[in-house]
Amino acid sequence: MISYRNVTKIYPDQSVALRNVSFDIKKGEFVSLVGKSGAGKTTLLKLLLAEERPTEGEVLFDDLLVHQLSPSSLPVLRRNIGMVFQDYKLLNSKTAYENVAYVMEVMGLEEDTIARDVREVLEIVGLGERAHHYPFQLSGGEKQRVAIARALIHRPNCIVADEPTGNLDPYHTRDIIRLLLKINELGTTVILATHNKEIVNRIGRRVLTLVEGQLVRDEEEGKFIVV
């Protein structure tokens, strides 16, 4: 489903973010991407969303060369990938309901469908009662659940979570990881970038370890090993 083939990324300031990275992710996998800050985790995810272009190599999503997509095709790619960020990236002027509904609006779906699906997904993430609260009225854990609801709403094939628990306390962290595992059980591929050792070890799924832009370990049922 996702393929990184000999990917190297060098930024204009000559800093090397990734060096010759290659791996595949199959449909329905749960993959943890671990490494220190600056190891290249976020760059790897940005390449998948075509926010950045690889200096060398190629990234494929469903057999499509991501960096060769035309600007008009990019929204279609991004609608197939649900993104969850450490800083939530919610629209502050919109309520939890509106933030989630926005994704369906950009897809041009009917009002009725939007209303039904948004309520349903907010119930799944446990925010049915908080639907009409603005982000500033929600706790960190609640904001992240809104972000997950938004990533889920259009039933993407893959969810990419970049440090989703970075700003959360252990209780909320546990909730969010449970939610991601539940989503994965329903068939959605999940890529979780994190430097939280405890989470990775508890999940016990495939782990990709990055060190200074290089993929140094790729293990099924792996552990977070400090390098």
């Binding site: 008009s72 993104m83 990236k89």
Partner: protein, 274 residues
């Protein structure tokens, strides 16, 4: 604000056009050539001349004013001015001359008609020719109007450029302030038109607001100067605005929305990485 000034200038152009058309019409309406016949010339002879004149292509119409009619009109015109009418009584006869008033099809042809009347053929019948050559006046009016129009067009174009720049910068600032929101929209898969749309609508709304403001300003100002204008040129600027309201509204909206959307489109294209 600048867009309001642009729209105000463009609307003023329309008024200028209307006013110049009005003044030219007024000038053309007047009697421009009058041929006065000697007392000895009979009415039949005058009618023959009239027919000859009517046969000319340049002549639009010829009105015959008999001696009696001329006297009646003179008395009518000066009925309150005894100082002018008293010598008439003293004279004891009608001193007026029968005459023909001519109107030409084209103001430029009056000189030709006057020359025709001054020719040998009519020398014994016509006592005098009263010829007010309005062609130069009309020509000058056209020149002045064209000059003012060119000036206003030049100013409008310059102001339009400024308006585009101001609107462009406003939208650029809005885009800059919404940078984070735009990034989120991109990441959740919003198409470029879905993101640009609101900015274009914002540009269009600026155009609509500027149109409303410009028209309001125009109406208030025209009301303020209506009386002075009317006494000077007989042109009722306010009535003209009322009669042309929908045309002006359409013009302002078209230009305002056009400029607003154009500037937003450029700003969005330049600064919205989608």
């Amino acid at each position: 604000m600048v867009m309001t000034v642009v729209l105000f200038a463009i609307s003023s152009l329309a008024i200028l056009q209307g006013m110049s058309a009005f003044l030219v019409e007024r000038l053309q309406e007047g009697v421009d050539v009058s041929a006065y016949f000697r007392d000895s010339v009979s009415e039949e002879e005058i009618f023959k001349v009239r027919q000859q004149l009517l046969d000319l292509e340049e002549v639009k119409e010829v009105e015959y004013i008999s001696k009696e009619e001329a006297l009646r009109r003179f008395i009518e015109t000066y009925r309150d001015k005894d100082a002018i009418l008293a010598p008439l009584d003293a004279l004891g006869r009608n001193p007026m001359l029968a005459h023909l008033n001519l109107k030409a099809r084209n103001p430029a042809e009056y000189a030709q008609i006057a020359d025709f009347l001054a020719g040998e053929a009519f020398a014994s019948a016509i006592a005098s020719i009263d010829f007010h050559d309005r062609a130069p006046v009309i020509e000058r009016l056209f020149l002045i109007t064209a000059g003012i129009r060119a000036g206003v067009v030049a100013i409008s174009i310059a102001l339009s450029a400024v308006a585009v720049l101001v609107a462009f910068n406003t939208i650029r600032l809005t885009i800059y302030n919404s940078k984070e929101e735009i990034e989120i929209m991109r990441l959740v898969g919003a198409s470029s038109w879905f993101i640009r749309g609101p900015f274009l609508v914002q540009g269009a709304l600026v155009g609509v607001a500027a149109s409303a403001l410009a028209l309001l300003l125009l109406f208030v100002l025209s009301l303020a100067v209506r009386a002075q204008f009317q006494s000077f040129t007989e042109f009722d600027i306010f009535s003209f605005l009322i009669s042309q309201f929908f045309m002006l509204l359409l013009l302002c909206l078209a230009v305002g929305i056009g400029l607003g959307v154009f500037s937003s489109a450029i700003a969005a294209r330049r600064y919205l990485r989608v």
